[in-house]
Structures are given as structure tokens and as C-alpha cells.
């Protein structure tokens, strides 16, 4: 791999080698630019991946750890934030980021997602807004994303889906028993099930092999590179150009600026916790919707006293997260759901908000199983089941292969008081201010989740479940993996942080490309985040060639 000296001024410094950063690295290096990518996590390869639930799930092997990089949480600004018992937010922490261990649900947004405010009007207590771009702006890039990374699905099977210029590059993966039961039930109810689009290969594609159905997708890295993570797809292409250096275990603490108000590079801690300053002509932050605003806030200086790109005070605000409950059900015959990908069938019938429901919101519902042996034994039985002893043991033995789940993927409204900020007291293991999360769902989000829960129970019952129960306990919704909206994209510099091409309004050579750009949040964001990255990279390369950065 190419190596640059820190005092060498590279064309682009990308911070975060995840879902978006991997694409920026590939697109910018293949366009001829020099790129250094700083990644706070390690460089794990396929040989390092294991089917080890204790390592990956219990001990957070691929994600942020509360002991090492803690965050605090509070529901509202009037409370003092505390380190929660469970992680409130969770993000991938290795080369490839969350795309390495994600479930790989890969949904495009609808056309209407881009103009929700125009369509439904304002929502009291929320900052609902239109995007500065449309589905048509993104469609060519959605197609490029699906083709470059490798996505399996069936075009036209979802009667509600937005227009697409090409079908999916790969056919859907095989349906599981949960998908068959879900399909029968939803059709009986007059709904429209379709194969879940997945960033997992159903057939060999571009030098990678097809899924072998081992079942270890969510929380795990794919040993056979069938999951279309940036680690398996674009990062090797970037490295092959000879212009890309990925620096793992490199934890950025500050983006530096010069007296002209332009960024000059970033200071990071290397693996030995030594400070290094890497010079760059342009900095692209792809550190996810929580770490990106935190880094900007940590980059405060005399010239930017409230944090970088934060003249309007909106950096970190409007945090949106994944929403939606799970319903579990048991069936007479074995489903063996632990095999193969987590989800195979989904509906979008309730995706679009409907004013007749009396609240703003909507979402998809899919059939899935995201338990593994330990998590099932701890949390897979109905609430009235015994917790230990002979009867419990017999139930675990019987139910593991007879249980399936329906998960709602729901909208989350942006609210100004929901935010990422710096904790005034707590420090991480490097001595940097810990992240503070302030978050509480909008009442409409809560109504919407309840509405979807009722639909989930109807479907589970129509599927013939012997027993069905909702999982709505205190911790049912955490940790949140979709961290969105905290550096919102917009045309107006008073109400947004980046412009329609992800350039910060305040700093001409600073770009933010990740979940923080999203204006609204529905359902499954990774496909859109990566598509935005392709579009942003295209624009950045053009601008760089014209010396317009």
C-alpha cells in the first residue's frame, strides 16, 4: 500500500473508512488524486472474522465500547447526562466501518422522501424539511451504487418503489421459512410482500463468491466476502491505484484551520497514541452521524469558537435514529431461522405517511431472525416464560428453531433538542471529551411505532403463529445503529450545515459525507448514504480538477 509522509500535502484527507469513506477513497483515487484515510478502528481482514457471539455481540468486537469510547445519554436538556447501562448509540469501528457488520438491508428511498415537508406540511415540535436534492438527482448514483457494490433484489416486485433506470444486478437470495410465512400472511391481508433488497451476493459477482448462508451477517464480518461491505468491494480498488493509504488505529482529535479559514489537515492519535498532523488540501469527514459532529465540535478554535462549520449552531442537532419495535412469534414446525441472511421478505404498504392516521410517520415491516444462541437464550422467550430451570431449558431447546421476528423500520422526526454534543465532564481513554447524546422520540414517532406494532401483530397472527408477543421493554429500541441528520444538508446556510454537494457552508475545503447529511430518516439509510457518497465524490473530483475547492 502507498504511504505518504504526514508533512506531504495530500489532495484529500478522508476521516472514517466506513460505508461512505470507503467509497470516497475509491472514487477519488481512481480519479487520480492522492488520498489518506484515517480510521479509528483496526484493519480486520476476512481471516480475522469469527462466528463468535461473545466477542462480536457481548464484547462489542466490531463496534464502539462504552469502556474505551464512552458516551453519555439524557432524554432532555434539563437532565444531566450519564453513561447508560446499555449503549444508546452504536457504530462500526474498523476499516469498512458499519458496512462490515451490518445486516445489509439495502433500500432506496422513495421519491416523496425528498419533499416530505412540501407534501405533508410542518409537524409541530419537529424540524421537518425538504431535501435540497430530489430522487432524480440521486437515481443515477443509486444505480451505480447497486452495480459497483453488488446488491440482490427484484426490481418491480415492490409496487410502491420509485422508478429505477436498471434492475438490481443480482437476483434475490433464497427465501427462508420466515419469508414464506410472512408472504402468505401479508397477501392474505391484501398487502404486497417483496424480496428484501440486500447488499449480499446471491451469485458470484465481480470476483467475489455468493453467500453460503452461514447466518452470521448482523454483527459479523463475512468471511467469504459475499456481503458487499466497502472492505470487500471498493477499498481494495482504492488501494490498488497506488494513491490510497488507509491508516487504521488512527483516531482524529482535531481538524486544523489556517488564518484564511480553510482547513489544512487533521491531528490524530496513531496506534501508539502519538499525535500526528497530516496535511491535506481538502478534508472529507465520513465518521458517521455521531462522530462527525463530535469531531467538528472538538475542532473549535479562535476563529471558529463554537466548533468548525458551526456558525449557525446546528452542528450535532436534529439527531435522528432507527425506530421500530419487534414482534416475535413461535410456530409448529422448525423454521431453522439461524441459517442464511437475517431478512428475506418485507412490505412497504405502510411506508408513506398518511394524514388519516392522525400523526406523521410510516415505515416498512420485514420478517427476520436476528438472534444467535446466547442472545436467544437471554431474550428469545415470551415475557411470561420461566427465566431458568428445567422448564426454561426445555422451552429454549424447543423454541430456538421455531421462532421468527417481525421488525418495523420506522420514520424518525428531526427535533432541534435531539443532539450530539461534547460531555462537559467525561473523557474517553484518549482524554478527549466523550460524546453526549440528548434524545427523545417525537410523540408522532411513538404513535407511529405503536401503529406499526399493531400491524406486526396482525401479520404474525395471520401467519399462524402459535404465540405472538411484542417486545416493548425499556431497552427494546437501543442501541441505535442509524445515526442521522446531525449536519443536515440544505440550500440555506442559516438552517443547514452542508450544501447540496456536502460542502460545509462555512469552510470551502471541508466536506461532510455520511449519515449526518440526511434531512429525513426513514427505515434503511445505508443505500442512500453510499449513493450520496458516489454523488459527492463525482462532484468533488470535478471541482478539484477545476481548482474550485
Amino acid at each position: 500500500m502507498k504511504q505518504y509522509r504526514p508533512d506531504e500535502e495530500v489532495d484529500f484527507l478522508v476521516i472514517g473508512a466506513g460505508a461512505a469513506g470507503g467509497i470516497m477513497a475509491k472514487e477519488l483515487t481512481t480519479a487520480g488524486f492522492s488520498v489518506v484515510v484515517l480510521e479509528q478502528g483496526p484493519y480486520q481482514r476476512e481471516k480475522d472474522f469469527e462466528h463468535d457471539e461473545i466477542k462480536n455481540i457481548v464484547l462489542s468486537g466490531m463496534t464502539n465500547q462504552l469502556g474505551r469510547e464512552p458516551h453519555t445519554y439524557r432524554a432532555s436538556e434539563s437532565e444531566t447526562a450519564k453513561v447508560p447501562n446499555q449503549k444508546f448509540i452504536q457504530y462500526g469501528r474498523q476499516v469498512g466501518g458499519g458496512s462490515v457488520h451490518f445486516t445489509a438491508n439495502y433500500w432506496r428511498l422513495w421519491e416523496s422522501d425528498f419533499h416530505q415537508k412540501s407534501k405533508f406540511g410542518s409537524v409541530a415540535g419537529a424540524a421537518l424539511a425538504d431535501w435540497p436534492i430530489t430522487y432524480a438527482d440521486l437515481e443515477p448514483y443509486y444505480t451505480k451504487t447497486e452495480e459497483e457494490l453488488g446488491v440482490s433484489g427484484l426490481a418491480g416486485a415492490n409496487p410502491f418503489e420509485a422508478w429505477r433506470s436498471k434492475p438490481y444486478p443480482l437476483p434475490p437470495l433464497p427465501v427462508k421459512s420466515s419469508g414464506v410465512l410472512f408472504e402468505r400472511a401479508t397477501r392474505k391481508l391484501g398487502l404486497h410482500p417483496f424480496p428484501t433488497p440486500m447488499a449480499i451476493l446471491s451469485q458470484p459477482y465481480r470476483g467475489r463468491g455468493a453467500c453460503l448462508h452461514c447466518g452470521f451477517c448482523e454483527y459479523f464480518g463475512c468471511e467469504v466476502r459475499a456481503k458487499s461491505s466497502t472492505l470487500a468491494t471498493v477499498i481494495p480498488i482504492a488501494e490498488k491505484t497506488g494513491r490510497c493509504e488507509i491508516r487504521p488505529n488512527s483516531y482524529t482529535r482535531k481538524i486544523e484551520t489556517n488564518p484564511d479559514g480553510r482547513v489544512t489537515g487533521a491531528v490524530y492519535f496513531d496506534a501508539g497514541r502519538r499525535e500526528v498532523f497530516q496535511r491535506a488540501k481538502c478534508v472529507v469527514v465520513c465518521a458517521n452521524g455521531s462522530e462527525t459532529p463530535r469531531l467538528l465540535l472538538m475542532s473549535a478554535s479562535n476563529r471558529f469558537p463554537h466548533g468548525l462549520a458551526n456558525s449557525n449552531g446546528l452542528v450535532g442537532k436534529y439527531l435522528m435514529v432507527d425506530a421500530g419495535y419487534e414482534v416475535h412469534g413461535t410456530f409448529e414446525h422448525p423454521l431453522n431461522e439461524y441459517k442464511s441472511i437475517q431478512a428475506t421478505r418485507v412490505i412497504h404498504d405502510f411506508y408513506e405517511p398518511d394524514p388519516k392516521r392522525g400523526f406523521y410517520g410510516g415505515g416498512g415491516i420485514d420478517a427476520r431472525f436476528d438472534f444467535y444462541p446466547v442472545s436467544f437464550a437471554l431474550a428469545g422467550l415470551p415475557p411470561d416464560a420461566p427465566q431458568w430451570g428445567s422448564e426454561w431449558k426445555a422451552m429454549i431447546g424447543r423454541n430456538f428453531n421455531r421462532t421468527m421476528t417481525l421488525l418495523a423500520h420506522a420514520t424518525c422526526l428531526a427535533r432541534e433538542q435531539n443532539s450530539i454534543s461534547l460531555d462537559p465532564n467525561l473523557k474517553d481513554a484518549w482524554g478527549l471529551p466523550a460524546m453526549r447524546v440528548t434524545f427523545d422520540f417525537h410523540p408522532d414517532d411513538v404513535s407511529n411505532m405503536k401503529f406499526l406494532l399493531d400491524r406486526q401483530m396482525e401479520i404474525m397472527q395471520a401467519a399462524g403463529a402459535q404465540k405472538a408477543w411484542p417486545d416493548t421493554g425499556d431497552n427494546a429500541l437501543v442501541p441505535h445503529n442509524h445515526l442521522l441528520g446531525t449536519c443536515r444538508m440544505g440550500n440555506d446556510r442559516k438552517t443547514s450545515v452542508v450544501d447540496r454537494y456536502h460542502r460545509t457552508h462555512d469552510v470551502p475545503n471541508l466536506f461532510l459525507v455520511d449519515g449526518s447529511s440526511l434531512v429525513t430518516a426513514c427505515c434503511q439509510p445505508t443505500c442512500t448514504i453510499q449513493t450520496l457518497a458516489y454523488r459527492a465524490a463525482d462532484h468533488l473530483a470535478q471541482q478539484a480538477r477545476q481548482n474550485a475547492i
Partner: protein
């Protein structure tokens, strides 16, 4: 899932450093290689006997093996030596309280391990709302259903109970309903 220390995405509130994960695995690898049974590094023999008696009622041996046969106690010892070092006091204090409860319930008894099974169950019912019991239960489940390399789930006893196979390759059909002919 509020009834267990777990979340929708099934995440426990354990937050060690990566080094501790490796240490736990290495520890257990060595333990697995050594015969007779590996020495305990944290728990005293008498403590281990009592905790094992509790674990053996959480997952009892009946028509299939239970926690004792799966080597759960070795997992717990490794956990307290590595990623759950900070939870040692919960065991020490919890065991003390449980012994007091035992002496109150069964004045002539000498130890938890020496109680009759029905008495052990009664004792655990009396402490099942405590943080100590919750931790022993969680550790017992982790040990019984987690990767055998951590010292528990010996001979994949836990995985056999639930019908889970750790393989890299399966072929459809996976279950009963996707094997049925299309209606």
C-alpha cells in the same frame, strides 16, 4: 427484552477492551488443552463448588446435560479473570448474602452444594431478583451457549440442545415452511 440485561440488538452492557477478549480466548484455549480439569485462577475451590451448584439449577441436567457438564464454572472463572474483572465483588458479596439466606432457610445445612435439589431451587427462588443471581444467570447462559473456546459449552452441549450448527455453508431449503411446495 427488559427482563434481561439486553437490548433489541441483543447487546450486553459489558464493555471491555479488545485486549481482554483475546486474553479470555487464550486463557480458555490453555484451559481446554490441560487435563485433568483446568485450575481456577480467580474463584476459590469452595466458591466454585457453590457457584457451580447454582449454575446447575439454572441449567439443570435432565434428559440432556446441564451447566455442570458444559463446564460453565470454567467460563465464569475466565470471565472474572479477564473481561469481567470488575464484577468479582458481585460474586463475593452475592455469595455471602446467599449463604446467609441458605442458613436462614435451612438452618442445619452446610453448603449450597450439599442441599437437596428441591432446596436449591427454593433458595434460588428466594434470591432470583438480586443482581448476583442475574449475573450468575447471564454468565451461565453465555458459557452454555457461547463459543466453546471460552471454556463452557463443552462438546457443544448448549448448541446441541437448541439444534444450532456452527457451519459455514447451508443449502436451501432451510426450514419446514420454505421446503413446502408453493401453495
Amino acid at each position: 427484552m427488559s427482563h434481561v440485561p439486553l437490548t433489541r440488538r441483543h447487546l450486553l452492557a459489558l464493555s471491555p477492551f479488545a485486549a481482554a477478549i483475546v486474553a479470555a480466548q487464550q486463557h480458555a484455549h490453555q484451559a481446554a488443552r490441560s487435563t485433568p480439569p483446568p485450575p481456577l485462577s480467580v474463584l476459590l475451590p469452595q466458591e466454585a463448588q457453590e457457584i457451580e451448584a447454582i449454575a446447575a439449577q439454572i441449567i439443570p441436567a435432565d434428559d440432556t446435560p446441564g451447566a455442570r457438564e458444559a463446564g460453565v464454572i470454567y467460563f465464569i472463572d475466565r470471565a472474572l479473570a479477564t473481561f469481567d474483572q470488575d464484577k468479582r465483588a458481585i460474586y463475593t458479596d452475592g455469595l455471602k448474602d446467599t449463604q446467609a439466606k441458605r442458613a436462614a432457610l435451612f438452618p442445619s445445612s452446610q453448603s449450597i452444594a450439599a442441599l437437596q435439589p428441591a432446596e436449591q431451587i427454593r433458595l434460588l427462588q428466594a434470591i432470583e431478583k438480586t443482581a448476583f443471581f442475574d449475573l450468575v444467570r447471564t454468565h451461565t447462559v453465555l458459557a452454555f451457549f457461547g463459543d466453546p473456546k471460552y471454556g463452557g459449552n463443552r462438546d457443544q452441549i448448549g448448541w446441541k440442545l437448541i439444534g444450532f450448527e456452527d457451519r459455514f455453508h447451508f443449502e436451501p431449503p432451510f426450514g419446514y415452511y420454505d421446503a413446502e411446495p408453493k401453495a
